[in-house]
Subunit: 371 residues, 2 copies
């Protein structure tokens, strides 16, 4: 059979669907023609950046005519000290999303298999599809990542990568360090665990494995977008073997991590008191959301993140709840797109006032949900 | 013959050399253990961002806990008005470098041919190699891009892309709108001109072609890194057919253009007086560099950018000049890596004081250069 004529685009790109991972809160505001009252759907920090980070970013803005240091030397030194690794084990990225794209590109030829739980991070799936790799998606088990199923799928399908967010998004659940070590030990030869620790600042100590940065089987990802309150600045990093960091240097945007973000991140990691305060407040907020849910007859999934998944019972009810929160209460939350998590709405921990506002909004919406 | 065993990396990435496009000024400072006195090598603006942009960035830093609008709606509306095109003809990127990567990825399968002048923008070459495409590099002619040679090479090699910076880096030269229109008309079917207009704010009006945004044969790239003084913020955009903008949506980092940069850019395009002042000052500075060069017996290439290439005579002399400026004068400038431009040093127009400092530095260094 004759091959179809080639489009003007690259084959991989021509074959991609025209979908985007997320509709932003700004799009809802534009549709409704009014600002949101509660923006608690994207797991952004309600507590802003550290005042020290803010001051550093405002100072850096005055020198924004200069490109950033493409080697990110000073920040990588500071991060290396923090993690007790070498500077050569750290690579900066414009957020974890940027690093996820680089990882898929670095490891996957078209057709290679990549494992993650069904319904896990859509942006990772976006990159996997974008480079023509094939997603293998074992289901969540009891609303948690199932490490045995992930390892088994990786073995069976000879996967190159296994992606896991720990603590997890969208469930909020977490695996222990022991679970993760067993998962790594069970991977097929050459496979790599992409360990997305975006929410690790909120996690109990036993969820954070003591990894060897030179272990070729693991890439650890961290971000300033969550507890550090700098999502809009775009900065994250990977801790990985030096050889892998050098491989990223072959393909990354060398000047891509903006100057303001680098300076802000450097100041932020020095402000441990601020982060401890955010983490404590988020813990209170999760408790409050749990109480709100219980009062209205919903279960709250246990969470070690800055959000809580509230179990609304069925996907029909969850969709109705989300839609009514948006249209009647001007409240933006999100929900997972697929089963079994699509019976839940996912609510970011806001400020005290935002939590109270959400409790009121949900209590007005809940009685009218479908049976 | 047996195929060699596959590395743990993707084939394209495993095959890439471990080179990076540029050594940053910060690396020289670290090597020397002292700060540079003159940082005039990376074509950064000496005149900073507009005060309005600076105020907007400082305000935006306070809301950096929120992700950016991934649709970049407000900024794209403003840019569309500016260019008299539709919002759907604009795609934002984290600088032109980001967009160049997307363009190569969108259009090129491994082995596809891409044309640019030999010695033109190294970061574009980095992306071309990174996606496995093949560079075809006709030489500069009389220190200018040669549109006939570029079109002929594109035709002969059935190229997918032709890259051209206009005004050009590293020469500072420019083609006229008529030259560009003839180049586009001469491209093979399906090929696209990647028109990098990073320096267009400094250019004479006749260097800027009146393009139809829906012309499938051209992608026009603009940045806030040069005249707008926001290189460290990371923001640029493309003007392109709506269908191509939708294709970028299949692969771009949707949250990748940081919030501070978007707000800064929006304010910056409203401050036309500031930009006019920068452009006038840069014009004076180019004249001064020309006078300095003439006084010392060097020719200055005619430039429509914020830098001037000074012809030092031979590559040996240019290298010596660059090295002595750095080691003896703490002055960072750059030079092209290949002939025929590697007989020149490339000097960014600094402030009045920086220009005087450079004139003094060069006059001390010049007498000792090899014959």
């Amino acid at each position: 059979m004759a091959r179809p004529p080639r489009s003007r685009y690259a084959r991989l790109v021509a074959a991609l669907p025209a979908t985007v991972p997320f509709v932003p809160p700004e799009a809802f505001e534009r549709q409704a023609g009014r600002p949101l009252k509660l923006r608690i759907g994207a797991n952004e920090s309600a507590f802003g950046p550290s005042p020290k980070a803010l001051a550093a970013m405002r100072a850096a803005a005055g020198q924004v005519n200069w490109y950033c240091d493409p080697e990110g030397f000073v920040l990588r030194e500071a991060l290396a000290r923090r993690h007790n690794v070498a500077r050569d084990n750290i690579v900066l990225g414009a957020g974890i999303d940027d690093l996820l794209g680089l990882i898929v590109r670095a490891f996957c030829d078209p057709g290679d298999r990549v494992v993650m739980s069904f319904g896990a991070y859509p942006t990772f799936a976006f990159h996997v599809r974008g480079f023509g790799a094939t997603l293998v998606t074992p289901p969540y088990r009891r609303d948690r990542n199932d490490p045995e199923a992930l390892a088994a799928a990786a073995l069976r399908r000879k996967a190159r990568l296994v992606y896991l967010s720990n603590p997890d998004n969208p469930t909020g659940s977490w695996l222990t360090a022991g679970d993760l070590e067993r998962l790594v030990a069970g991977l097929p030869a050459g496979a790599v665990l992409v360990l997305d620790e975006a929410y690790s600042d909120f996690a109990p100590a036993d969820a954070i494995p003591a990894l060897d940065a030179e272990d070729a089987r693991v890439i650890r990802l961290r971000t300033f977008s969550k507890a550090y309150g700098m999502a809009g600045a775009r900065i994250g990093y990977a801790v990985a073997p030096a050889e892998l960091v050098r491989t990223f240097d072959k393909i990354r945007h060398h000047f891509g991590v903006n100057r303001v973000a680098q300076e802000g991140a450097l100041a932020a990691i020095g402000d441990t008191d601020f982060i401890a305060g955010v983490v404590a407040e988020v813990e209170s907020g999760r408790r409050e959301y749990g109480e709100t849910a219980a009062r209205l007859g919903f279960a709250a999934l246990q969470s070690a993140t800055n959000f809580v998944a509230l179990d609304i019972g069925t996907t029909e009810r969850a969709k109705a709840c989300l839609a009514r929160l948006l249209s009647e209460e001007n409240c933006f939350v999100r929900m997972a797109g697929v089963a079994p998590l699509n019976r839940c709405i996912r609510v970011t921990v806001g400020t005290k006032a935002e939590r109270q506002g959400f409790a009121q909004a949900l209590s007005r919406v809940a009685p009218g949900l479908p049976a």
